[in-house]
C-alpha cells in the first residue's frame, strides 16, 4: 500500500504530473510575456492533456492499435519509476531504493527511444526524418551528460557511487566550485534532451511538422505529452538535487527549495528558448563534438586529479 502511494502520489505520478504541468505552463507564460503577449493560463498543459485523452485515435494504415498505444505507454512507466529513484524530502528517509543516477539516466532515455521507434513504426516521412535527427543528437548530448554525471559522482563520500543522495549532500568548498563548473554542461545536456531551442531539431515544425510524433493522435499523443511533462519534472528535480542544498536543510524547506530550483531551471530554459533560433544538425554536432565534450572531459580529468590527490 505504501509502495502504491509512493508510485502514484508522492513522489510518483501525481507529483510529477502536477510539477511538470506547472513547469510547462510557466515556460509557455514566460514565452508569451517575452513576446509582449498575455499567453495561455499556467494550467494550459493540463487542459491540453485532458482534451487529448478523450479524442479518438486515427492511426496510420497497417499499424496495430495495441503497439500504437504501447510505444508511448512504456516510457510513462519508466519515468514514474524514475521519481522513486530520487531522494525527495519526506520520501528519502523511509525508502529502501538506492538513488542510482545511472538508472535514472537510462530510464530518462526511454521516452526518446520510444519516440524514435514510433517515428519509424508509423512510416510517416516526417516521423522518420524526425526520428533520424533525434537518433543522431542522442549520441552527442548523452556523451556530455555522462561526462557531467561522472564528474559529479566523484564528489562526496564515497566517490564513484553514482548515488544522487551522496552528490546532493556533497557541499565542501571544492565540491561547490566543481558543481558550479559542471552547471553549464548540465544545461547544455538537458536542453536537447527536452528538445528546446536552440536544439529543437527533431521537432522542427517549419520543416518536418511535428517530427516523430506527426502520426500520434488521441491517447497515444496524450501519453507522449505526459512523458514530456514528467521529463521536465525529473530534470528540474535533478537540477535542484545537484546544485541546491535540498538535503542539507529541513525537509519542509528542502521541498520548497527543490520546487524553486525546478522553476528557476525552467525559467532559464524558457528564456534561452525565446532568445535563440534553431541550430542546424551540423552546427549542433560541431558544438558538442568540438567544444562541449572536450571541455567536459577536461573538467572530469581535473576533478579526478583534485579528488584523488
Amino acid at each position: 500500500m505504501e509502495f502504491l502511494k509512493e508510485l502514484f502520489l508522492y513522489p510518483g505520478l501525481f507529483f510529477g504530473f502536477i510539477l511538470g504541468g506547472l513547469l510547462e505552463g510557466v515556460k509557455r507564460k514566460l514565452k508569451a510575456k517575452m513576446q509582449l503577449r498575455i499567453g495561455p493560463p499556467i494550467t494550459q498543459p493540463f487542459y491540453d492533456l485532458n482534451k487529448l485523452m478523450v479524442k479518438t485515435i486515427t492511426k496510420p494504415y497497417g499499424v496495430a492499435p495495441s503497439v500504437y498505444l504501447l510505444i508511448p505507454f512504456i516510457p510513462t512507466i519508466a519515468l514514474i519509476f524514475c521519481f522513486l529513484l530520487m531522494p525527495y524530502p519526506f520520501y528519502q528517509e523511509k525508502t529502501a531504493f538506492s538513488f542510482d543516477l545511472i538508472l535514472v539516466f537510462y530510464l530518462t532515455e526511454i521516452p526518446l527511444l520510444a519516440q524514435i521507434i514510433f517515428g519509424y513504426f508509423t512510416k510517416s516521412p516526417y516521423g522518420m526524418v524526425g526520428a533520424a535527427r533525434a537518433g543522431q543528437m542522442f549520441f552527442y548530448y548523452n556523451a556530455l551528460f555522462i561526462m557531467v554525471i561522472t564528474t559529479l559522482s566523484l564528489l562526496g563520500d564515497p566517490p564513484y557511487s553514482f548515488c544522487i543522495k551522496t552528490i546532493a549532500e556533497a557541499w565542501s568548498p571544492l565540491d561547490i566550485v566543481i558543481k558550479l563548473l559542471t552547471l553549464p554542461f548540465f544545461v547544455f545536456a538537458v536542453l536537447p534532451k527536452l528538445k528546446l531551442n536552440p536544439f529543437s531539431i527533431p521537432d522542427a515544425e517549419a520543416e518536418i511538422l511535428e517530427g516523430p510524433l506527426t502520426e500520434a493522435s488521441g491517447l497515444a499523443l496524450a501519453f507522449f505529452k505526459l512523458n514530456y511533462l514528467l521529463e521536465l519534472a525529473i530534470f528540474g528535480s535533478l537540477f535542484s538535487f545537484f546544485y541546491l542544498p535540498v538535503l542539507k536543510i529541513s525537509p519542509q524547506i528542502g521541498l520548497i527549495l527543490l520546487l524553486l530550483g525546478a522553476f528557476s531551471l525552467t525559467f532559464a530554459f524558457g528564456f534561452v528558448e525565446n532568445l535563440t533560433a534553431r541550430l542546424r544538425l551540423s552546427q549542433f554536432s560541431s558544438l558538442y563534438l568540438n567544444h562541449l565534450i572536450p571541455l567536459a572531459t577536461g573538467l572530469l580529468v581535473i576533478t579526478w586529479i583534485l579528488k584523488t590527490w
Binding site: Q35, R37, K51, L213
Partner: protein, 152 residues
C-alpha cells in the same frame, strides 16, 4: 450520473484547448497572412488555448482558406479524414464561402462546404483576425456538442 462532473471537466478542457490546423485550398494568401497575425502579439490567440499545429492528427479545428480547386480537393478530403474526432471546420474568407473572385474559374470546383461539413463561416476579403478568432471560439462549441465523450 456519477460520470457527469468528469464529463463536464473534460468538456471544459476541450473548450480551453483548441489546436488548429490550417489548409490553403487555393486562396490568394491574404487570409493565410491574417491567420498568422492571429498568433502574433497583437491578437494573441494563445491566451484562449489556441495553438497552430503542424499535423492534422493533432488538430481539433480545421481552418480552410480559399475555394476548393481540382488539385486541392483530394488533399482537403484526406486532411479532414485524418483529423481525430471531435473536430470542427471553420471556413475563412469569402473565397472559401462562395468562391469569391475565383468563382467559375476553370479549375475551381466550388466552396468548401460542397466537400466537407463546415461549422462556422467567417466572411471578409481578407477575413479580419478578430473575426477568425471569434470563429474558432464558436467552433469550440461544436466540439463538445457533436461527439460523445470516450468515443474511442
Amino acid at each position: 450520473m456519477l460520470l457527469d462532473p468528469i464529463k463536464q471537466f473534460f468538456r471544459y478542457s476541450q473548450k480551453r484547448s483548441l489546436w488548429v490546423f490550417h489548409v490553403n485550398t487555393g486562396s490568394c494568401n491574404g487570409c493565410d497572412i491574417e491567420i498568422l497575425a492571429l498568433f502574433s502579439s497583437k491578437y494573441d490567440a494563445e491566451r484562449f488555448g489556441i495553438k497552430l499545429v503542424g499535423s492534422p492528427k493533432h488538430a481539433d479545428i480545421l481552418l480552410v482558406t480559399g475555394p476548393v480547386t481540382s488539385k486541392s480537393r483530394d488533399p482537403l478530403l484526406r486532411v479532414y479524414d485524418m483529423m481525430p474526432k471531435p473536430k470542427a471546420v471553420v471556413s475563412v474568407g469569402v473565397c472559401s464561402l462562395s468562391g469569391g473572385v475565383f468563382a467559375k474559374s476553370y479549375n475551381v470546383l466550388g466552396p468548401v462546404d460542397n466537400f466537407i461539413p463546415v461549422h462556422v463561416y467567417v466572411g471578409g476579403c481578407s477575413a479580419h483576425p478578430n473575426m477568425i478568432l471569434e470563429g474558432i471560439l464558436r467552433a469550440a462549441q461544436f466540439l463538445s456538442e457533436e461527439e460523445e465523450l470516450w468515443s474511442f
